[in-house]
Amino acid sequence: MDLTGAYASLGSDLGNAFSLVLLSVVGLVMVVWDSLRNDHRAIPWIGVAASVLAISFELLRMPGPAEKIFYGLMWAGGYASFVNIIILAATAFTLAISVHYLDRIGHNYGEVYSLVVFASAGMIVLGSANSLITVFVGLETMSICLYILTGLVRTEEGSVESALKYFLLGAFSTGFFLYGIALLYAATGTLYLDEMPAALAGGAGSEVLLWGGVGLLFIGFLFKVSAAPFHMWTPDVYQGAPTTLTGYMSTASKASAFAALVLVVYHALPAERWMLVLAIVAAATMILGNVVAIAQSNVKRMLAYSSIAHAGYVLVGIAAGTTAGYSGALFYLLVYTLMNIGAFGVMAALEWDGHVGQKQDLDSLAGIGYRKPLLGVSMGFFMFSLTGFPPLGGFIGKYAVFAPAIDAGLTWLVIVGLLTSAASAYYYLRVLYVFWMKSPEEEAAPALDQLMASPLSMSTSVVLVVCAGLLLVLGIYPGVLESTTLFFSDSAAAVAAIR
């Protein structure tokens, strides 16, 4: 075997994968720091600084051409940069809002932050993968960190229980996912995504192995993005996990899993056979998520079902099977990340020691808007955006995924989407109604006063304002949407050049 020049491209590869390398190194530094100093004050801010640095790198890298790095295992630039920005932003926001929250619930350990950073590194691998190996490694790095984070509050029965559920079902779905990889490998003879079309064109493998493999592969993704009927872990896990980390799970991990799904269908599967499956799953997901969310009185659980519903909207864009649909889905993920991190951030700030807040019952939060105006106003932004009201980002996002689906002939799916998102207004606006238009109950007053005594932390306020502001900017200047379309022509050109 000739290995001459095996490391020739290592330097430029490491440069291209700056965010990944930075996060991994910073994660290790955080572990070392935590072991030697046991000082959890500085640790989260190292992570925030690294994420911000990585975001600025990716912003500069994004307009450049997409390249394959590490022997074609991963992509860098363009599409990958955009996905990395979503993940890194979610990471930075989560680290910043977690500090105060974890302090209050008494579980502020250095490990938490390094686990978040490691999970993000896994997500970056997943979201820019060009090989099923990297998809698997990224997915598992992310998942294992998330299992631990879910069970962070070991002393709470609910937290451990949700960790167990998440772990068992996650491992179960990983089994199917891996089996899908094996079948696809048997059918195409390669694990590289962009080599699959050529292998299929050569007539290799049998139809059953191929499509069985694709189906099982989808299961893994659909589980991670909590699409129906693979969603059932979501409400239980989201309710049990620490609130800020729930926000992180519901956004960054979904974004990267969706990004990988788009990479798979865009690079590896030119045929249209999978469109119907995704369309049906999308319809089921939207209906189930929105309808059950209406019946919830616990805000965290309601937001969990809402995040299921939003996975459905993203799937609509992907099911369209066009580059416009993929770029719409990407844009939606960006918007969704901002609004969901924000919504969970508000709920985390409203969770306080005392009977009322911990239950996260909607009615216990009556009239909070006037007492904590920043939380009330920013929650207004997030809820309106989640509902899809103009001029906020959520509206543009819905447009971005629904319009390509109509072009692709999936009108029935879009009608389902529009009807269910109209129904979603009921439960989102009910939150605002309770926040602003309802007077608090007498018995809740002492607990509320206790909450008022603890001021909002600076970092939380900044994150909420930034999220709300970005939603408004994306809603008023949706130019970003057009730029996401470019990734696909870019990548396609790059693929063509390599072939």
Binding site: M232, L276, I280, V377, Y399, S439
Partner: protein
């Protein structure tokens, strides 16, 4: 001055006011006590745009001017820009919105004094002005729709302003839900237009009505009209407006009388070339308008709540305007919008002043240990207020005469023009217009009667509240009376902008020349056959008839109620028998909706599903909501909490996915 610059500030100032008042009040609780600050900011950000609009108006060259700030979304065919159109129609609407708006803001400074939500009120009101300006200035349907939704939202927030009272919240919800039905029709119309024409800006869609097939055109106009019935309170969607009186009175004056409720008329006038090309739909519009007008007028006669009388009067007057629209007289509809804005705003503000006074009475009575509770809005406890509130009384009387259509007052010119146009349209061979005309004549008579009734019961006769010799109301502060005086003077002279055709052959009908398409304006008109020389005599005859009806109505009402007071209601009720019950019961619209739509939905879902206790609110969408909620209640029980059931679901999903992908 550069008109782009002016338009920009006309729009931005109210928005800035809303943001400043809202954020300032929210985040700086210490500031909330300083009412004058919010009042001054709130009023100035509407008054300055009024001045800017005046400048625009005076330097208007006769050419429509479109200002595009930036393109919001451009994807494929769809191009949505923040573009605003300055032309004759939008200018006149902007003048009304900012002018009347500024006066009402000024009035609110006094009216809302002492309310803990003072800052919130001005923030909402400013936001409303911003949304309304988007509605009237927008150059394409999406921007118009943005404003349309915005005013709906502000209306919701302001009706439910005193949200601690559950009744107000219910009224706000009702308005919101009913309006959503209209909005849905509006959206459908936009969808059809976009699908057929590929554009939504007025320049393109109005360029050629023939670009649409006749059936599509009919649908578009009908759907837009349904949208208009929601916002402008026509049959069958008018039921929210009387309940909307739960909001503070300046809100009723601004939103539910002068501006927002006329937006349906504005919309139809804006797309008048399309409407004219759909004559069948025009007939529907005219007949609905006529029926609404007479129905609301008959209800108004029986009401005792001063604001409800005015609310039904508004519904009735809006019916008049739709009558005009239905007979192709769009500019007359806008003319009536214009005059109605003055006298109805004045009437509402006057009633607010009265309520202000009666609140004082209630307060004093309470202090003196009086046991009973009086309703400060009930005319039965008022009487002889002109002695205590002379300014309010005079201005209310002037506006009453204006709405009744006494010659030379503003209402006379606009209402008479509507009746004349209906007659002329019928004369030109459109049979339904005769019906409209006759209904219009009767309604005009009823209008004069119920308005005089409300004036006489409130301001004349004897004091009817308890302990009247000890406790008396007093006149409101100047911030409230000044707007009353200004509005009432406008209500008196405002009609001279549209002198009837018999004078100088219509040459002095300024508003016709300003708006009408034959003179280069944006509002289309039907081409009617030329009439013979005798028609001038008919026109004079109609004017005399109109004057006679108005004077007769006022004379009758005055005689009846000044002499007999409240007793006369009983006489009317005896004379009309069962009909009176129907009127008093408001034709049982609410009950019918409840029986036919709301109850079946609720009962159906209750029988099928587990009992749910909360949020049993009336309203059609809430009924649907119950069904959806019910489904949610059932589906959530799939979530058993057992990990192996979830795993089973995954396996089921695997089977489905593989099944579809392998065999599908």
């Amino acid at each position: 001055m550069n008109s782009d610059f002016l338009v920009q500030w006309i729009l931005l100032l109210p928005l800035a006011g809303a943001v400043l008042n809202g954020l300032g009040g929210l985040f700086l609780p210490a500031l909330r006590e300083r009412e004058s600050l919010f009042g001054i900011v709130g009023t100035a950000v509407v008054a300055i745009p009024f001045v800017l609009t005046l400048i625009l108006f005076l330097q208007y060259s006769g050419e429509a001017h479109v200002t595009t700030f930036y393109t919001w979304m451009a994807a494929g065919d769809l191009d949505v820009s923040f573009a605003y159109r300055i032309d004759e129609l939008s200018l006149i609407m902007t003048l009304v919105v900012t002018g009347v708006g500024a006066l009402i803001h000024l009035y609110s400074v006094g009216y809302m004094h002492g309310d803990p939500g003072y800052w919130r009120f001005f923030a909402y009101l400013n936001l409303f002005i911003f949304a309304m300006l988007n509605l009237v200035l927008g150059d394409n349907l999406p921007v118009l729709f943005l404003g349309w939704e915005g005013v709906g939202l502000c209306s919701y927030l302001l009706i439910g302003f005193w949200y601690t009272d559950l009744k107000n919240s219910a009224a706000a919800n009702k308005a919101f839900i009913v309006n959503r039905i209209g909005d849905f029709a509006f959206l459908m119309a936009m969808f059809v237009l976009f699908k057929e024409l590929g554009a939504l800006d007025f320049g393109t869609i109005l360029a050629d009505p023939q670009a649409l097939s006749q059936s599509n055109l009919n649908w578009v106009v009908l759907l837009l009209f349904i949208g208009a019935t929601g916002k402008s309170a026509q049959i069958p969607l008018f039921i929210w407006l009387p309940d909307a009186m739960a909001g503070p009175t300046p809100v009723s004056a601004l939103i539910h009388a002068a501006t927002m409720v006329t937006s349906g008329l504005y919309l139809l006038a804006r797309v008048s070339p399309l409407v004219l090309a759909a004559p069948q739909v025009m007939a529907v519009i005219a007949i609905i308008g006529a029926l609404t007008a007479i129905m609301a007028a008959t209800i108004a006669i029986t009401q005792n709540d001063i604001k409800r009388v005015l609310a039904y009067s508004t519904v009735s007057q809006l019916g008049f305007m739709f009558m005009a629209t239905g007979v192709g007289a769009f500019f007359v509809a806008i003319f009536h919008v214009f005059t109605h804005a003055f006298f109805k705003a004045c009437l509402f503000l006057g009633s607010g002043s009265v309520i202000h006074g009666m609140h004082h009475v209630e307060h004093e009575l309470h202090k003196k240990g009086h046991e009973g509770h009086i309703d400060p809005q009930d005319m039965r406890t008022m009487g002889n207020l002109r002695k205590y509130m002379p300014a309010t009384s005079t201005t209310y009387l002037l506006s009453t005469l204006a709405i009744a259509g006494i010659p030379l007052f503003s209402g006379f010119f606009s209402k008479d023009e509507i009746l004349f146009k209906a007659f002329e349209y019928g004369y030109s061979g459109n049979t339904y217009a005769w019906f409209v005309w006759i209904v219009g004549i009767i309604t005009a008579l009823l209008t004069a009667i119920y308005m005089v009734r409300s004036y006489v019961l409130t301001f004349r006769g004897k004091e009817r509240w308890p302990m009247a010799d000890e406790v008396q109301p007093h006149e409101s502060p100047w911030t409230m009376t000044v707007p009353l005086w200004i509005l009432s003077s406008l209500a008196v002279v405002g009609g001279f902008v549209g002198l009837p055709g018999v004078i100088a052959h219509g040459e002095w009908n300024w508003i016709h020349h300003w708006l009408g398409a034959p003179y280069g304006g944006p509002v289309a008109e039907p081409v009617l056959p030329a009439h013979g020389g005798g028609f001038l005599a008919i026109e004079w005859g109609l004017i005399l008839l109109g004057s006679a009806i108005a004077i007769g109505g006022v004379w009758f009402g005055w005689r009846a109620y000044d002499r007999h007071g409240l007793d006369y209601d009983r006489k009317i009720s005896e004379a009309t028998g069962r009909l009176y019950g129907l009127w008093r019961g408001k034709y049982y619209w609410d009950e019918i909706y409840d029986r036919l739509v709301v109850q079946p939905l609720i009962r159906g879902s209750e029988k099928l599903l587990a009992p749910f206790d909360e949020y049993v609110v009336d309203g059609i969408v809430n009924g649907v909501g119950h069904v959806t909620r019910g489904a949610g209640q059932v589906l959530r029980y799939l979530q058993t909490g057992r990990v192996q059931n979830y795993a089973l679901a995954i396996v089921f999903g695997v089977a489905v996915v593989l099944g579809i992908i392998l065999f599908g």
